[in-house]
């Protein structure tokens, strides 16, 4: 085929889109205009043929004709009969040449504008070339499969013209329209629009528009179908030579059972066949309406069982992610993260050391605007195919891809502001312990009154743009986003640029190549959280006795000094993957994925040299101190898999899959520390007087393979069995490969014939599912190997010292999970309900067993010794309460419960935080039951039974009794009272520092076709705080209410405060359950009529707030000190890499207000 022919055929393929989009961009208008001009200017049949051929195949002859005459011939090569032709047609018109060439072939032709369409004379057998229509997902090949789009249908749609030509061209019309989602009003791409009785069909473009040409005049049934939506049928009357418009709004299916889910096997799997719950977050839809700036905001509270442990309100600081709670004592519970099929860095502690603050989550590096959807694979039963490291779950991020059609441009801008609501509430009042009669200090207000406002309304701005389009052979998505987000102090900001380019190429009908490339570059400047340098702790630990000193009552340093410190993270990150999918037949699919993720950071923490040197609040650091580090984290993944689909008769369909994966990750950190700068101008390590440097390199590799067999019975009962084997460089030399089996079963009961009569229409869809499987969690990288490290010997001679005593028998922690549940659609898809119960058993739990110190090694040695249990349930529902033409009201809810228990500590010595038979990490305190006291007035009282004057100031505690403990191990409340000094610390509440219960409720009002009002509230149930920070607000500095006034009503708090029995309930152990109104928004889609003349296809305006109202707390105050409910810092004891303490020093969540506008061209 010549270049010219290719271009011509390309034009043909794009023609419908170009014509349809004629009112769109100027370019499209121009092209369409030119075509129209050509149509009017000349009849192609009348053009000179200039053809002379001898004994040439018909196809080749037609190509020659097209070349020589310059006309566009549209035909399906596969439909051409095989015979040779000869034609001396140089001086005759094209019409005569065609009559000659087609005479033997039972072919006819017709003119459509500038094109000549050649079709068989007989009617085609199937509207879409023989492909089944009813079930779209099964057996379709092509690049769209993983997103549930039957791309092969797109290719067939290119042949519309040949079907249309069977009708008389003088008696046809055109149907145009737009398909949207009825709930979101968003255009729906890749919906199939057809006239089944006529065998005509097409797919909607990315703007939701479609055009059906050559529709015979008359009334026809227009069928619109899309996976995940209910099919719609409309009667359409076509008038001869006219165009009729039909816009259709599809309703979402309550259960998207035919949706394709990324399961680890090539091509994915229909949801109906998966035996476990898989969460799906439609990112592209959510970002349209909700105030989303980070990935955490995108994912947070959307999926039951997925929890973000928030760090603080500092802009740029991230959170750790927990799926189904903690399930390891010693290892990180961060789930694996995949982007477009490759594993990426999932570090949640990147960035500079912020002095006990949470750090950066690399998940937040990605821009929500470039994400199409996210799938959450929650537990071992689902994650078996991901093998070792996957037992904490898997997050699959799928970025946006191109769609065939004319280029579509999307531009968005978000402007807004961040602020801290109720600053005075959080800061509270400080009192002078030594002078209790003095008025309290409200430091924030005092500073403000004196003209020093330290907090700001931080501006927020995000600009993004994307372009997507393509042909059936090449599709592209290009996007860019710039974000500039400031916190409540001017030196806390994040500026980041994200670029993405995704290209899909179909070099042939059976090969698809996806190339996905993302790059980001950004800088974040942090505010430090904790002493000695944070402004926040300086306020909440205000020192009332120090108001007249240099630090004006701040805990340690003046804000104007703190703001001269710097803590920054510069990051650049490249994430690239290539997926090659080969589908040589409709029963075989192979996929090869290769990709890498590389993150380069430069972290810096600077205390500049002050002219005053060491006499500043920063002491010797005031002479200058700079710490830098340059972590480079890299992952490399290769994934190959094949799936074979074959039938055994009409009832049974089998799918066999095999695959091999290789993952490699490394972290290389170069760091340096410089102290004492000679002069304030010097701010580099090189200029420091004292310098030190360090370098570390850690690498891990894993290799594994799986085999899976799926059996489908009448497409409603599915049984799946799989086996995965893994080896990992972290395993001990004596440990063989880890083997993980998996079984699952699912039954779409509602597809059974008996169901309608049984369910009576109440439950229109019901699927039962269960899954059992294992997954692993690898040990620390070098835990299996005995290591020595370098040291300095006498006289500077080299030396070594012992480092880690390895365990050559070390293997992975193995989690086994059983999951059962159901999905139901009720009231004719007006409501959906998904319920899952799961129970996990962690065996060979890795325990940090102390090393006998007399061996010459210290610390602990990892051993596969413990056993843990983790269980819970998840519930999600969506209900459309009202649904009229102009008004709809939807309510969505999620609830989840998670609990755990240490079954066996494997010989590890129990502690107050870790006991067999108890949740972990266990939260314990001595629980005061009776306190006898005397007041300064000499009065005696007994708390809580006999308190003569609740406000009287307590002078002395004469005795304090605490619960002596009950239960199987004496750690439950309810025992006989004993003196607090010898009382045990007992489990407090549910014993957990993470919430046992969580839930969300969201509501959406759709008013007319254009206005949507949305709100989402989040609730986290009972969990407890171990708060050094909160305690210190009584005991540190000048002291607070309790320490100052010591009222008899709070005397139980004095038991701990006065040192009579530390670790007692009262001062620092609040239940931190809370409920937050997280998101509210109003989204208005600008009517199309307003956009006419602007060249825009679609526009919307969104006004939103995040965290507008913390409307409930189990404990808003503890003894007049406010309780911050959800933040935590890194100061507490750790478990699996997490800080257990919720220190209450965390800056509360910021509130933000944003106005966004999005325009599509």
């Amino acid at each position: 085929m010549t270049k010219r022919t290719v271009l011509r055929n390309l034009a043909i393929l794009m023609l419908p889109a170009l014509v349809e989009a004629g009112s769109g961009s100027s370019l499209e208008s121009q092209v369409a205009g030119e075509l129209a001009t050509r149509i009017e200017a000349e009849n192609p049949l009348e053009k000179p043929a200039r053809l002379t051929v001898q004994s040439l195949q018909l196809g080749a002859a037609l190509t020659e004709l097209a070349e020589r005459s310059g006309v566009t011939l549209v035909y399906s090569p596969s439909k051409l009969p095989h015979y040779e032709v000869s034609c001396e047609c140089y001086s005759v018109p094209v019409k005569a040449a065609l009559d000659n060439l087609l005479a033997k072939g039972h072919l006819r032709y017709s003119v459509h504008g500038p094109n000549i369409v050649i079709v068989p004379r007989e009617r085609l057998g199937h509207p879409f070339g023989g492909e089944p229509v009813a079930r779209l997902a099964g057996g379709f090949a092509g690049p769209g499969v993983e997103r549930g789009i039957p791309s092969s249908f797109t290719a067939l749609a290119a042949d519309d013209s040949e079907r249309g030509s069977r009708f008389d061209v003088e008696r046809v019309g055109t149907i145009t329209g737009r398909v949207t989602d009825s709930r979101t009003a968003q255009p729906l791409a890749s919906a199939q629009v057809s006239l089944p009785d006529l065998g005509l069909g097409t797919l909607t473009q990315q703007n939701g528009r479609f055009v059906l040409t050559n529709v015979p005049a008359g009334t026809h049934n227009l069928l619109i179908q899309r996976i995940g939506h209910r099919a719609a049928t409309e009667a359409v009357s076509v008038v001869d030579g006219a165009s009729v418009n039909r816009d259709v709004a599809l309703e979402e299916e309550a259960l998207a059972l035919d949706e394709i889910i990324v399961t680890g096997t090539p091509g994915g799997t229909q949801r109906r066949a998966i035996g476990n719950a898989v969460g799906r977050v439609e990112a592209a839809t959510i970002t349209e309406v909700a105030p989303i700036q980070t990935m955490q905001e995108l994912l947070g509270a959307r999926e039951p069982g997925l929890n973000f442990v928030r760090g603080s309100g500092i802009v740029g600081v991230g959170s750790t992610i927990r799926i189904r709670g903690l399930s390891s004592l010693a290892l990180n519970s961060q789930p694996l993260i995949y982007v477009d099929g490759i594993r990426v860095d999932n570090t949640a502690s990147a960035g500079p050391d912020l002095r006990d603050a949470a750090q950066v989550s690399t998940l937040d590096d990605f821009a929500p605007g470039e994400i199409e959807s996210i799938e959450i694979i929650k537990g071992p039963a689902a994650a078996t195919l991901y093998g070792t490291e996957a037992s904490a779950g898997v997050i699959q991020i799928i970025t946006k891809k191109g769609e065939s059609g004319a280029p579509q441009f999307d531009l968005g801008v978000t402007l807004g502001t961040n602020w801290l609501a109720n600053v005075n509430h959080w800061v509270g009042t400080a009192y002078d312990r030594s002078n209790p009669d003095a008025p309290g200090l409200r430091l924030y207000e005092k500073e403000k009154a004196e003209g020093r406002e330290w907090f700001q309304y931080g501006p927020l701005q995000t600009y993004n743009g994307s372009m997507r389009g393509g042909t059936d052979r090449v599709r592209y998505f290009l996007s860019g986003e710039y974000q500039d987000n400031e916190g409540i102090v001017h030196y806390n900001w994040k500026k980041q640029t994200n670029l993405r380019g995704n290209i899909t190429v179909l070099p042939s009908d059976d090969i698809t190549l996806d190339v996905n490339v993302g790059y980001l570059e950004g800088t974040t400047s942090f505010m430090q959280q904790k002493n000695p340098f944070g402004i926040w702790d300086g306020l909440i630990w205000a020192n009332a006795a120090g108001v007249d000193t240099r630090i004006r009552g701040f805990q340690r340093a003046r804000p104007e000094m703190i703001e001269q410190l710097e803590a920054t993270r510069d990051v650049s990150r490249f994430t690239g993957s290539m997926t090659l999918t080969h589908r040589p037949t409709d029963w075989l699919t192979s996929r090869f994925v290769v990709g890498t993720d590389r993150t380069d950071e430069f972290n810096s923490s600077l205390v500049p040299r002050f002219p005053e040197g060491a006499s500043t609040e920063f002491g010797s650091l005031g002479l200058g101190d700079l710490q830098i580090s340059n972590p480079v984290r890299q992952t490399f993944s290769i994934d190959y898999g094949s799936s074979v689909n074959y039938g055994l008769g009409p009832a049974v369909n089998l799918t066999s899959s095999v695959g091999v994966q290789y993952h490699q990750r490394s972290e290389h950190i170069a760091s340096a520390h410089g102290q004492i700068f000679p002069a304030p101008q010097i701010r580099t390590i090189g200029g420091a007087t004292l310098k030190s440097a360090d370098e570390t390199y850690v690498e891990n590799k894993s290799l594994g393979g799986y085999i899976q067999q799926e059996l489908a019975w009448y497409d409603r009962v599915f049984l799946t069995a799989a086996l995965r084997g893994d080896d990992n460089s972290a395993f001990g030399a004596e440990f063989d490969a880890a083997i993980y089996p998996k079984f699952s079963a699912t039954w779409v009961v509602s597809d059974e014939n008996f169901w309608p009569s049984l369910a009576g229409g109440f439950v229109n869809s019901l699927r039962l599912r269960t899954a059992w499987g294992k997954a692993g969690r690898q040990p620390d990288t070098f835990a299996a190997v005995t290591l020595f490290e370098g040291a300095i010997g006498p006289d500077g001679n080299p030396a070594i010292s012992t480092d880690v005593l390895g365990n050559p028998d070390l293997g992975p922690e193995v989690s086994t999970e059983l999951e059962v549940g159901f999905d139901a659609a009720l009231f004719d898809d007006r409501a959906s309900l998904e319920f899952t119960y799961y129970t996990q058993k962690v065996e060979d739990a890795l325990m940090p067993v102390p090393v006998n110190p007399t061996t010459g090694f210290s610390g602990s040695q990892s051993m596969n010794a413990g056993q843990l249990s983790n269980w819970g349930w998840e519930l999600a529902s969506n209900v459309r309460l009202l649904n009229t033409d102009n008004f709809a009201w939807d309510i969505g809810t999620t609830f989840s419960m998670n609990d755990n228990r240490v079954d066996d500590l494997g010989g590890l010595t129990p502690t107050n935080n870790l006991r067999e038979g108890r949740p972990f990490p266990l939260f314990t305190r001595r629980q005061v039951v009776e306190v006898q006291y005397t007041t300064e007035d000499g009065e005696s009282g007994t708390w809580p039974h006999d308190i003569p004057d609740p406000e009287a100031r307590v002078a002395t505690i004469t005795s304090a009794l605490c619960d002596g403990g009950a239960g199987f191990d004496g750690y439950s409340p309810g025992g006989e009272p004993v003196p607090c000094a010898i009382a045990p610390q007992l489990q407090l509440g549910n014993g957990r520092v993470t919430p046992k219960h969580e839930g969300t409720i969201s509501t959406t009002f759709t008013i007319g076709q254009n206005l949507r009002l949305y709100a989402m509230a989040e609730w986290r149930g009972e969990h407890w705080a171990s708060s050094i920070g909160l305690s210190c607000r009584y005991t540190c500095g000048s002291g607070r209410e309790l320490n100052t006034f010591r009222p008899a009503k709070w005397v139980e708090g004095l038991v701990g405060l006065d040192g009579i029995a530390t670790g007692t309930v009262g001062v620092n152990s609040p239940n931190t359950a809370f409920a937050y109104l997280r998101e509210v928004s109003a989204n208005y889609t600008v009517p199309s009529s307003w956009l006419e003349g602007l060249g825009a296809e679609r526009a919307s305006i969104n006004v939103a707030m995040r965290n507008p109202w913390l409307f409930w707390q189990a404990n808003r105050f503890i003894y007049n000190v406010p309780v911050e409910p959800e933040g935590r810092d890194g100061a507490g004891p750790t478990n699996g890499g997490d800080a257990l303490a919720q220190n209450r020093l965390a800056l509360p969540s910021l509130t933000s207000f944003t106005v966004s506008m999005r325009v599509s061209f």
Partner: protein
């Protein structure tokens, strides 16, 4: 041919999976450029490195010990709260991650350095003597390894109540010290007529003799001790080298005072609810020697003892209350610690010889420092003077006074009390191994919990029969066990 293709695909995948799980060990090899594994460490080429490593870990531990155990020996008084206050309850200490080169958790883990030094020195000696026969300087390396192994056993045996070596059961201090004596004897045998100078001493042989003398004296072998001590030449000194390169190489005594105002060398004189002049701890009070030479309880006209230099900073230590008397013996983080000297040999001989011979040896030492002579004909007073002389001569050097208190059964506040600011301290006596050293040793009975220091009849195994009349200041509470009732219970 779907069937054939399917089989081909399946076989390929299974083969790939099998390959992944069985045959591709090399593909999982990882780089470890920052650390060494066993097979890289114990090679003949590393013989010198291993001996240097033993010395490095020993020196780190010695420096940490000198800073830490001074509180138990009442050479200093800590003021940070937590375990370090005054008298640590060692039974509750468990090994942490830190050790000397890591700079972390240095207080509780100082003695790990001794264990690492033992590991390296014994491993090096064993391989040098049995396998690595062609290593250059083999005898010097063997002798050095043996001396440092002996030093480790000396300090472990002189401080712990008992010990539990891996793959052995519990052994008393005498057993530990005998192992040290054996190593030093081995070192001397390896050296034969030769002697070696190493970084820390000009005479490895004299160091071996002196440490063996020290051990033999503790074990009651006065004849052997005297023979060894007599080998030590005037001016002999051996050092624990220090420099400022990294925390593990710092002089910790200096750092804990200058860096953190962590300890004061003078015991506090007052205590809440007690008489103002009552001492909580003996401490290094009145650090002068009076003209009468008694050297105790004198104020005013005494001659400054250059061996115990200190300055009253007139500021509190870290607790904000206790007056900060800062030691001036070490003036930088790079100052070396003395660990053996001619003076020690003289005092060992003085202990053995007693009488005017001891007085002469004391005065010979005082002559070195230009201090007034001591004179007495009272045997008990002379004996006490020897102890006091050791206390001053070895001030902040290797917790020597703590070891003397164990040997001679001197006063320990064996009770639980509170500091002035309310920090509690616990039972203090000989050191108890961390519980894990018992629990993780299969040769120790599961229900064994270590020596019970609350049992007031418990004495250190090698306590000498004779007890010097070494004075406990009159202002100290005169009880072996703190009188609980004398302290307001709210301070517990």
């Amino acid at each position: 041919m779907p069937g054939r293709t399917y089989r081909r695909a399946s076989l390929s995948a299974v083969a790939l999976a099998s390959l992944a799980l069985s045959g591709c060990d090399g593909i999982l090899d990882v780089e470890l450029p920052g650390q060494l594994v066993d097979s890289d460490v114990f090679t003949p080429d590393n013989a010198e490195l291993l001996v240097n490593s033993a010395i490095a870990d020993f020196e780190c531990a010695y420096s940490m010990m000198s800073a830490t155990l001074t509180t138990v020996g009442e050479e200093s008084w800590a003021g940070t709260g937590g375990w370090g206050t005054a008298h640590g309850d060692y039974a509750t200490l468990t090994p942490g991650q830190g050790h000397c080169p890591d700079n972390s958790d240095v207080d509780t883990d100082w003695w790990h350095g001794y264990e690492r030094a033992r590991l390296f020195s014994e491993a090096a000696y064993q391989r040098l003597s049995e396998e690595w026969t062609d290593v250059p300087n083999r005898e010097r390396l063997m002798a050095t390894a043996a001396v440092y192994a002996g030093l480790v056993y000396d300090f472990l045996g002189s401080t712990f109540c008992e010990y539990a070596f891996p793959e052995e059961s519990i052994v008393p201090p005498s057993d530990v010290l005998r192992r040290g004596e054996a190593w030093l004897t081995t070192a001397l045998e390896v050296m034969g007529p030769d002697d070696y100078a190493i970084t820390s001493t000009q005479s490895l042989k004299q160091l071996a003799h002196l440490v063996r003398a020290r051990i033999r004296r503790t074990l009651g072998d006065d004849i052997g001790a005297a023979e060894d001590a007599a080998q030590i030449q005037p001016g002999f000194v051996a050092w624990v080298t220090r420099d400022g390169s990294e925390r593990g190489r710092w002089n910790e005594v200096y750092y804990t005072q200058y860096g953190f105002r962590y300890r004061t060398v003078a015991g506090p004189r007052w205590w809440s609810d007690f008489a103002p002049d009552q001492l909580v701890s003996a401490g290094m009070w009145d650090l002068t020697i009076a003209t009468d030479g008694t050297g105790r309880h004198t104020v005013g006209d005494g001659v400054p003892d250059v061996r115990v230099p200190e300055v009253n900073t007139h500021t509190p230590i870290l607790d904000g209350f206790t007056p900060f008397h800062r030691q001036e013996k070490y003036t930088s983080v790079g100052d070396p610690h003395r660990m053996a000297s001619w003076q020690e040999a003289q005092l060992i001989l003085a202990e053995i010889e007693r009488g005017q011979s001891a007085v002469a040896r004391i005065n010979a030492i005082r002559d070195v420092h230009g201090l007034p002579h001591f004179a007495s004909s009272d045997e008990e007073e002379i004996f006490s003077a020897i102890i006091e002389e050791r206390r001053r001569e070895f001030f902040l050097e290797g917790a020597r006074h703590f070891m003397d208190k164990l040997r001679f059964g001197l006063w320990f506040p064996r009770g639980r009390g509170s500091t002035r600011v309310g920090d509690r301290y616990g039972f203090a006596y000989c050191l108890v191994l961390p519980a894990t050293a018992y629990e993780l040793n299969p040769n120790v009975p599961a229900d064994y919990i270590g020596p019970d220091l609350t049992d007031l009849s418990y004495t250190w195994e090698l306590q000498v029969d004779e007890k010097p009349n070494w004075p406990v200041p009159a202002s100290l509470p005169q009880f072996d066990v703190m009188d609980f009732d004398a302290i307001p219970w709210s301070q517990w």
